[in-house]
């Protein structure tokens, strides 16, 4: 989150924090894990009314894109969602809405944007393959022209929210370059293979496409360069929001760890008065400030389409990914035994941090991406 929020943005932040505090506090994800239930759909619909997805949807389709700072505002929301390890499909749905708003035909927009904006429909984005660059570039799915339509084959890996989605946004490679499609979940040949996720508030799956036949109107935008640019923009939005979420996760875990070290006594002193702990915490806040700076810049650059947007998201991903895990891991350490119990909240924070570090491109993948962006 930026150091300078507008009044509207401060209101958005306050409203989001109040809403998730009331309707989906950290206890919600524990309850889901304990009961094996999924996220609360009713809460999602209420959230949609607050405009979470509408930020990316034009007014004519029920959104507020024209009057908001899309990615920057969504990053404010994402950071708040991170603070409670929220389990709804925020990023997936926002990205799909942005993609359809960007390149959809009037019919596609009219069909999908209103229900995405008002919480009636959910979307998932299928694009990753299995490689060291998984999640940071397209792979896994291939498209071929077939008559007037197209045929999809392959497996999209690490797809968030596929199991609950109504529509799949699919990025595929083809002989004509990148192609993107909107594929209904019930299309013949689509199969979802759920993965065991470390983050108990996420639903991740591999999505198999086994000769999935699509009519021409499934195509989203123009194949080739336009689709490649659209893909890049979708990835940037995803990363900007993921980093903002990671910042929220870390910030909150750091916050309650600070309370713990101030309140907890050992040897007649608050443990936060021991110099070794103080120095570790000093290093953590320093890297956390770095993560905040990088995440805020990423959101700003992506929103404004700045020339450094591609660089900015990879920088943010590497910094947020690595240090969130490292900081929260040490916060667990600082809690002593209690931090290792199921009943303590902190493991939900660390699960999300570790998960976010690895998904949508590991730090290593983004280091490689930065080298490519630098022309190396």
């Amino acid at each position: 989150m930026d150091v300078a929020l507008s009044e509207d943005q401060q209101m958005l932040l306050d409203m989001t924090r109040r809403f998730v505090g009331d309707r989906s506090p950290i206890g919600a994800v524990r309850k889901q894990a304990d009961t094996g239930s999924s996220f609360d759909r009713a809460v999602w619909k209420e959230a949609a009314q607050l405009g979470w997805v509408a930020l990316f949807v034009p007014e004519e389709h029920g959104g507020i894109a024209e009057s908001s700072d899309g990615v920057i505002d969504a990053a404010i929301v994402a950071e708040e969602l991170g603070r409670v390890v929220y389990s709804g499909p925020f990023i997936s749905t926002c990205v799909a809405a942005a993609a359809i708003a960007n390149a959809g035909t009037p019919a596609q927009q009219a069909l999908w944007l209103p229900p995405l904006a008002n919480g009636e429909a959910l979307a998932a984005w299928c694009f990753a393959g299995k490689s060291p660059m998984a999640g940071a570039e397209p792979g896994g799915v291939r498209a071929a022209r077939s008559g007037d339509g197209f045929m999809l084959d392959g497996t999209a890996c690490y797809v968030e929210d596929a199991a609950i989605a109504d529509i799949l946004l699919v990025t595929a490679q083809s002989d004509d370059g990148i192609m993107q499609f909107l594929v209904p979940l019930d299309a013949q040949g689509v199969a979802i293979a759920p993965l065991a996720g470390l983050d108990l508030g996420r639903r991740i799956a591999d999505v198999r496409f086994d000769g999935v036949a699509l009519t021409a109107d499934a195509l989203l935008g123009e194949p080739g360069d336009a689709a490649a640019q659209a893909f890049e923009r979708q990835l940037q939005i995803t990363l900007a929001l993921q980093c903002a979420e990671t910042v929220g996760v870390t910030d909150r875990a750091f916050e309650f760890t600070m309370e713990w070290v101030r309140d907890r006594y050992a040897f007649n002193r608050p443990i936060g008065s021991f110099q070794a702990l103080k120095h570790r915490l000093a290093d953590h806040i320093t890297q956390l400030e770095g993560a905040k700076a990088a995440a805020a810049h990423a959101a700003r650059s992506v929103q404004t389409g700045a020339p450094d947007a591609a660089i900015a998201v990879s920088v943010a991903k590497s910094q947020c990914g690595r240090f969130a895990t490292e900081i929260i891991r040490d916060c667990v350490q600082l809690h002593g035994g209690i931090g290792l119990t199921w009943e303590h909240d902190i493991h939900f924070y660390l699960r999300r941090a570790v998960s976010n570090e690895a998904l949508f491109g590991s730090p290593a993948a983004h280091h490689e991406r930065l080298c490519r962006l630098a022309g190396l």
Binding site: A128, K130, S131, P132, A134, G135, C157, Y158, A193, L195, A196, G197, L198, D199, I204, D206, D263, R264, Y265, A266, F267, N268, R269, I271, F274, A276, L277, T325, R329, V332, Q333, G336, G337, I338, G339, L340, T341, W342, E343, H347, L350, R351, V354, S355, E357, A358, L359, S362, P363, A364, A365
Partner: protein
């Protein structure tokens, strides 16, 4: 604290050629008794897993069979005869361990062996030793240690559990936590405060407490991974007869020091046992598992992945070699006893680093695992979440031990050691389970 390391699995080692006649006879007896009574060694099986009630029951039975077969049970070989032991020297225990190689020993009596027996021998009355020790060797009593408290963290002398005497009976009230095997044990060493008006180390007493009695509530603690090897106990007027004070009233810190020293030495012995086997493989070996992971992930030729794996090889080898060095240095006196703390710290640091390297190797496969992935890859994410251990003290305690005991650096000033306990600040007691 549990020995969560795997039971040793390296190649068999024997010093049979060194046996005297008496030792040879003992060896053959051991061989026969073990063949008849012990379950086989299962590579990869945990040494201690108090969660696994069947394994605990199996160990109780094994301990009894060893005792009935005349081998003294785990911990009984070197104990004096008058307390139910065999009264033999270390050489016989070594033979026992050698011969036990094909079998599973009753490792759940490891705590009794390492800690409880030395404490009872050092501080127990004649009556206590005669009454309690044989019940350990025979497998009747399994023991746990109730030391840590939910208010306490690493400040062991800060116990809040109160013991008050009414008539001939002590009544204990409070809560203990991180007791391994609390829910399967019969007896406990329990530290409680008997005088809060003196400085904190001075007002403590060690009690021998029956675990199954009114007023004792034992709740397993669910850990992040779902396991429940530790318990929290709530003591509500738990009764201890006057005769079950270990050492003097208000002299419990002395007993606790014996206990901690025995625990540390036991860890030393613990890995010495492992190492005696591992030392057979005196060569450094590169575990094939990292390479297999890389192949599974399609990264076998990636130069960055190979760096991660190479560093993991080094991590494992250095940990192994340091263990051997420490073990050898302790045996021949070239290294001070405090060097054990260095090895513990290396263990803690290495396991954090290992999960970091493997997380980087696995990428998304470590946090979202498909059924066709190997377990080695799938567990990387959760290993990264639960990389810290409860046993062996917190990292801070380990670092302080190495700095103060091993390097001899000065203690923190402004200690609370000279202030009456009831004037100290402490935490409320949290309920973990």
């Amino acid at each position: 604290m549990p020995n969560t390391a795997e039971a040793p699995t390296a190649e068999r080692h024997t010093t049979e050629h060194l046996d005297t006649e008496e030792q040879r006879a003992f060896r053959l007896e051991a061989r026969e008794v073990m063949a008849a009574g012990l379950p086989p060694r299962i590579p990869g099986q945990s040494a201690n897993s108090f969660e696994d009630k069947e394994l605990v029951a199996l160990d109780r039975a094994s301990q009894r069979k060893l005792y009935e077969g005349g081998l003294g049970g785990l911990g009984g070989i070197m104990a004096p005869k008058e307390y139910g032991g065999l009264g033999l020297d270390k050489r016989f225990e070594d033979i026992f361990i050698e011969e036990a190689y094909p079998y599973r020993l009753p490792w759940h009596y490891g705590n009794a062996h390492n800690v409880v027996i030395p404490c009872l021998l050092a501080h127990g009355t004649e009556e206590q030793k005669k009454r309690l020790l044989p019940r350990i060797f025979s497998g009747e009593d399994m023991w746990c240690q109730m030391l840590s408290e939910p208010s306490g963290g690493s400040d062991l002398a800060g116990v809040l559990t109160r013991a008050e005497k009414r008539g001939d009976t002590w009544y204990l009230n409070g809560s203990k936590v991180w007791t391994s095997g609390g829910d399967v044990s019969d007896m406990a060493l329990c530290l409680a405060r008997t005088d809060p008006t003196v400085r904190k180390h001075a007002g403590l007493t060690m009690f021998l407490v029956k675990m199954r009695q009114p007023g004792m509530t034992i709740n397993p603690i669910k850990l992040v991974r779902g396991s429940t090897e530790f318990c929290q106990e709530f003591l509500d007027d738990v009764e201890v007869p006057e005769s079950d004070v270990l050492g003097g009233v208000n002299d419990g810190w002395t007993v606790a020091m014996t206990q901690l020293a025995a625990e540390r030495a036991g860890m030393g012995r613990g890995w010495a046992i492992g190492l005696r086997q591992a030392a057979l493989s005196q060569y450094v070996e590169l575990s094939p598992q990292y390479g297999e992971m890389a192949r599974e992930l399609g990264l076998a030729r990636d130069s960055y992945a190979r760096q991660l794996i190479g560093e993991a090889f080094v991590l494992d080898a250095v940990y192994d070699l340091t263990g051997k060095r420490v073990s050898a240095g302790l045996r021949n006196g070239a290294l001070p006893p405090t060097v054990g703390a260095v090895h513990s710290l290396l263990s803690a640091r290495s396991s954090v680093k290992r999960t970091q390297l493997l997380s980087a190797l696995a990428g998304p496969a470590g946090v979202a695992s498909s059924p066709d992935q190997s377990d080695a890859v799938s567990r990387i994410g959760i290993d990264r979440v639960v990389t810290h251990r409860i046993g062996g003290g917190t990292l801070e305690t380990q670092l302080n031990l190495v700095a103060e005991r091993h390097l001899g650096l000065p203690r923190e000033p402004g200690s609370d050691r000279d202030i009456p306990f009831n004037q100290l600040k402490h935490n409320r007691s949290e309920k973990l389970a």
